[in-house]
Amino acid sequence: MTNNKLNLKSNLSNYDDVYQILIDMHLDFTDEESQTANAKLILALVNHIGDSIVLQQAVNIVRDNTIAWRNQIINKKNSHLMPRKSE
């Protein structure tokens, strides 16, 4: 939490519980309500973290990762998905 460094290593022991909490937040929401709810959730967590430097690092990796995926999904055509010989 300190050192102004975003932790990108595994930091949870109960991933499935956490994931379900996130999904259950949206029960009965419309898509639009869900978007707003996610924004509220981010704001609540950002306030809890209380560190704009950490936030900026998170924003950076998310932007880069999303743009990288945008390029991959649009450009690449799948060809051959056989299990490879060995690694």
Partner: protein, 560 residues
């Protein structure tokens, strides 16, 4: 060559002609993997067992192919595991793919289980397990397998169940002390007993193609989320023995079940996946819709349900047969004590208590996998996709990827059979949890701790080799003469003269059981911990045994 299940002669018992009511202690309905495992358990304990099965052959196709560690431990107790592991396939590398990205979003290595006898899981066709089980049953004179015998009605009596059984030459009556329904997801017994089976049907279908490729490929598990060859759906690929590969296509709700399984309709899917020139032959093609359901109660009077007749889960995480084997493991010793008159219906209630809990936990886990694999809303899809996209670069996201969680044994921390800790245990195996394996030395030979446990109540005594009192030793050994016999296993870092001891060669048993110097574990016949103490107290041990067979401690039924 696709697998051809062996055919068995339909059995027509003498009772059909004589009209005399036949009697048996245990009647098992259904010779699937669960019924067979229960028959082997009860039969090995010496009970008279009759298994009836409507069909005259084993199931076609490979069906349940994943056998997790705990079921393998159960089969090791029953003497089949070594054969299964030898034949089975162990995979360690798993790869997760997403959309049309040809490189995996990430790969993982299922590190082998260290210093335990059995692996985390193996893949093996269901029919091998069934064949090995039948071979073992054929050696037991007290077990009879009747092919072509169909249960058509049940009449409940005060101390028995009267079953009417149909054969090709007519019906006969079978009076059983106990009837165990292992007759699968559409259990006729469950319908005859008018039991509710609540839950939900998922509006989705899966197409299974088991194929043999001409080329050899590395033994890896591959899972695709939303690939271009099956858009919007998932595909799973993993290996079985004999170079058979299981491919699981998610195909959605609106399908023609007859058409989709035709080889000419499956082949384009496989070519889209592997390329036009792929060479293969089919072993088995099937389609299924899955349900998550649980029966109202796993027992009703003298009728007991085990396996799919009692609970259904989604296939993700291989929790169907794996859960069923743990049902029979939990049931067999309880039924044994009840048949011998040493315990009563309360012990049977604990079967429902413990295994219904396990079924619910399995349903929760498999439902979570399903929700990740098949998101139910737009926002859920966004979360799933976000996890997969981040997983290419960041370790933290990979923990969320859920393509089916490995089936692990369920603990019963609140079971009425447990005696709660009355001392502090910072580590070890808590009451209601299955025992963990460790390498040991027994009479100079390398053995495994779990092979010393099971079948009866065992007292696992971690001894300080510097001091063992002869008096205490004599009292402990005499526990074997109790009404509920308790057999002592002494374990120590070094040999002790005058005491038959297994040696904890690597100190791993002490470490895994949280032992500093001394400690005692009371272990149930199904290798679950009933109670534990730091020091030996004979009264506490006897009280804990009472409790773990369903009696209250005040009753004092244990002969002393």
């Amino acid at each position: 060559m696709p697998y051809i299940p062996p055919n068995y002669e339909p059995i027509v018992p003498d009772a059909v002609a004589s009209k005399v009511t036949e009697k048996t202690s245990v009647l098992i309905v259904g010779a699937g993997p669960i019924g067979l495992a229960l028959a082997l358990d009860m039969g090995t304990m010496g009970h008279k067992v009759i298994i009836i099965n409507r069909e005259t052959k084993l199931t076609d196709g490979s069906r349940a192919i994943c056998y997790a560690k705990r079921p393998l431990e159960i089969f090791d107790r029953l003497g089949l595991a070594e054969k299964m592991v030898k034949k089975g396939v162990e995979w360690n590398i798993g790869r997760v793919f997403f959309k049309n990205r040809t490189e995996p979003v990430y790969s993982f290595d299922l590190l082998p289980v260290k210093e335990q006898k059995l692996p985390a899981m193996i893949n093996i066709q269901q029919y091998y397990n069934e064949e090995y089980n039948i071979e073992a049953l054929e050696k037991l004179d007290n077990v009879e397998l009747r092919w072509g015998n169909t249960l058509i009605s049940i009449e409940e009596k005060t101390n028995s169940v009267n079953a009417t059984v149909q054969t090709e030459r007519g019906n006969y009556n079978l009076e059983a002390d106990w009837l165990i329904a292992c007759d699968g997801s559409s259990s006729p017994t469950r319908k005859m007993m008018d039991m509710g089976f609540g839950g939900e049907t998922f509006q989705d279908n899966f197409l299974i193609a088991d194929v043999k490729f001409k080329k050899k490929y590395p033994t890896e598990r591959h899972f695709w989320f939303d690939p271009s060859f099956n858009p919007g759906q998932s595909v799973l690929l993993h290996k079985q023995p004999d170079n058979v590969w299981r491919i699981d296509f998610q195909v959605g709700w609106d399908i023609d079940r007859k058409e989709i399984v035709r080889p000419e309709n499956v082949t384009p899917r496989i070519k889209a996946m592997f390329g036009e020139d792929v060479e293969f032959e089919y072993e088995w093609i099937s389609v299924y819709t899955f349900n998550c359901r649980i029966i109202d109660s796993m027992t009703k009077g003298r009728v007991i349900f085990a396996g799919d007749s009692a609970h259904l889960v989604s296939p993700f995480g291989a929790r169907g047969a794996n859960t069923g084997f743990q049902d029979t493991d939990n049931l067999a010793w309880k039924l044994d004590l009840i048949i011998k008159g040493k315990a009563d219906h309360r012990l049977l209630q604990s079967y429902d208590e413990e295994r219904s809990l396990a079924a619910k936990i399995n349903i929760l886990n498999s439902t979570r996998s399903t929700d990740f694999i098949t998101p139910k809303s737009a926002v859920s899809t966004h979360f799933r996709d976000a996890v997969l996209q981040l997983s290419t670069e960041y370790e933290f996201a990979r923990g969320f990827v859920n393509s089916g969680r490995l089936s692990l044994p369920v603990s019963y921390p609140d079971s009425s059979l447990n005696t709660a800790d009355d001392e502090i245990w910072p580590a070890g195996v808590p009451p209601g949890t299955n025992c963990i394996d460790a390498p040991v030395l027994e009479q100079g030979e390398t053995q495994w701790l779990l092979n010393s446990l099971g079948w009866m109540f065992k007292l696992l005594i971690f001894v300080d080799p510097d001091y063992v009192s002869q008096d205490q030793y004599q009292v402990l050994v005499s526990l074997e003469k109790d009404e509920i016999p308790i057999s002592c296993i002494f374990i120590s870092q070094a040999a002790i003269s005058g005491v038959e001891t297994i040696i904890d060669i690597k100190g791993l048993a002490a470490e895994r059981y949280g032992i500093c110097k001394t400690g005692v574990y009371l272990v149930r016949p199904d290798q679950y911990v009933a109670a534990r103490w730091h020091h030996i107290d004979i009264n506490k041990i006897r009280n804990a045994v009472q409790r773990s067979i369903g009696y209250s401690v005040e009753e004092k039924v244990t002969k002393q």
